[in-house]
Amino acid sequence: MDFFRPVSLAEALELKAAHPECTPIAGGTDLMVELNFDKKRPETIIDLTACSELQEWSRDNGTVRVGAGVPYSRIIAELATDLPGLAIASRTVGSPQIRNRGTLGGNLGTASPAGDGIPPLVAVGASVELASTSGTRSMPVTEFITGVKENALRGEELITAINVPGSRGPQQFSKIGTRNAMVIAVATFSVALDLEARSVGTALGSCSPRPLRASDAEAFIADEIDWDGRTPLPESAAARFGELVADAARPIDDVRGTAAYRKHALKIMAKRTLTWTWEEART
């Protein structure tokens, strides 16, 4: 096994170009499990934790550019105002130890349907920045993830950042699991109100092979909400929103839960989180 530890992004990209088959490591919370259990023996590992460019975030024109190597604990501590939905979701990741190491770049690289960091990105239309020695390209998270643990990353590329539109209204995230910590999600739901565009963004997690938005639910509720008067949301509208979200899901039966349970959970989580966000918008 070869090990490289580039100290700059430029050096990391040179190495990735020379070793396109190599496996990058950042927080290690996924890869180390595979190494410890002898499930993976990469020929080459590139450690990205010494590339300071990947550990930074910045604001630009209403968008927050989150470096792929920023751990969840820093997203929680530093970005809860700019990206409230992502911060709430980050608080549900693993445990304090995992949140100190795990990164959004890793979540996208692994591309598990149960990745907690992904729905809040999808709900606001975030995009992934991919770099190689020949340049940088960007694509929506929904396009980047192509299947269960599959993504559009090319061999010579690294995930360098995620561009997330800054919050334009209340956001929420809800997750179902067997306990509060150290849980792989049975189902998750993200909702983001855009009070300027008068639209509602949604995303379902752990309920389909690829990240999914509930477009019908989004269109329905944007019409139902009294954006000008800010009157309370009728119970029936919130309930219908929940049903439309559940209809959009494409879940499976697996060890963590049945498809029917996932749909039921989504219906409740969608109704609940929508009500929370609208109540926040009204006050």
Binding site: M1, D2, F3, R5, I25, G27, G28, T29, M32, V33, L35, N36, F37, R41, P42, I45, D47, T49, S73, G94, S95, P96, Q97, I98, N100, R101, N180, A181, M182
Partner: protein, 160 residues
């Protein structure tokens, strides 16, 4: 490969480390520091909790080579005098928070980290901070007692 790192205040060079080896393995098997326990090897149990550059992490999920040039503090490095116990360790003993003892080092490091940034945590803050550490004897009530006792003592004595 050779790895240079600082462990419990001492600069060390460790030779013949395999590139795919965890920091936990290096600490336990190559540096004679068996305090950090090896249990789940997947970050679930917290028994291998250590500080890496001041952050609480699972040593089983850190590639040893990633610790090059970094500072590691293990449970062995918490007490200032080698023969003494840290107030957190003393509190775990006195409160009966140690049953089989396997989870204890990880819980002590996690408690140390919590109390160093939050000297007087609420019970829900304690539960949240220790959520990544499992006790298979399920002795959680005594562990919560120990954290409260350590917090009171450290606040009174100013020990960290």
């Amino acid at each position: 490969m050779r790895i240079n790192l600082r462990v419990n205040g001492e600069q060390s060079a460790v030779d013949d480390v395999w590139e795919g080896e965890s920091l936990l393995h290096v600490l336990r098997e190559r540096m004679a520091l068996p305090g950090s326990k090896n249990a789940c090897e997947q970050g679930e149990c917290g028994s291998c909790s250590v500080y890496l550059d001041g952050a609480l992490v699972c040593a089983c999920l850190v590639l040893a080579a990633q610790a090059e040039g970094r500072e590691v503090v293990t449970v062995e490095g918490l007490a200032t005098d080698h023969d003494d116990l840290h107030p957190v360790q003393q509190a775990f003993l006195e409160a009966g928070a140690v049953q089989c003892g396997f989870c204890t080092p990880g819980l002590i490091v996690a408690t140390h980290e919590l109390l160093s940034r939050r000297p007087d945590p609420s019970e829900s803050e304690v539960r949240e901070a220790l959520a990544g550490n499992l006790c298979r004897c399920t002795g959680y009530e005594k562990i919560l007692d120990a954290v409260a006792l350590a917090g009171r003592r450290m606040a009174a004595g100013g020990a960290g």
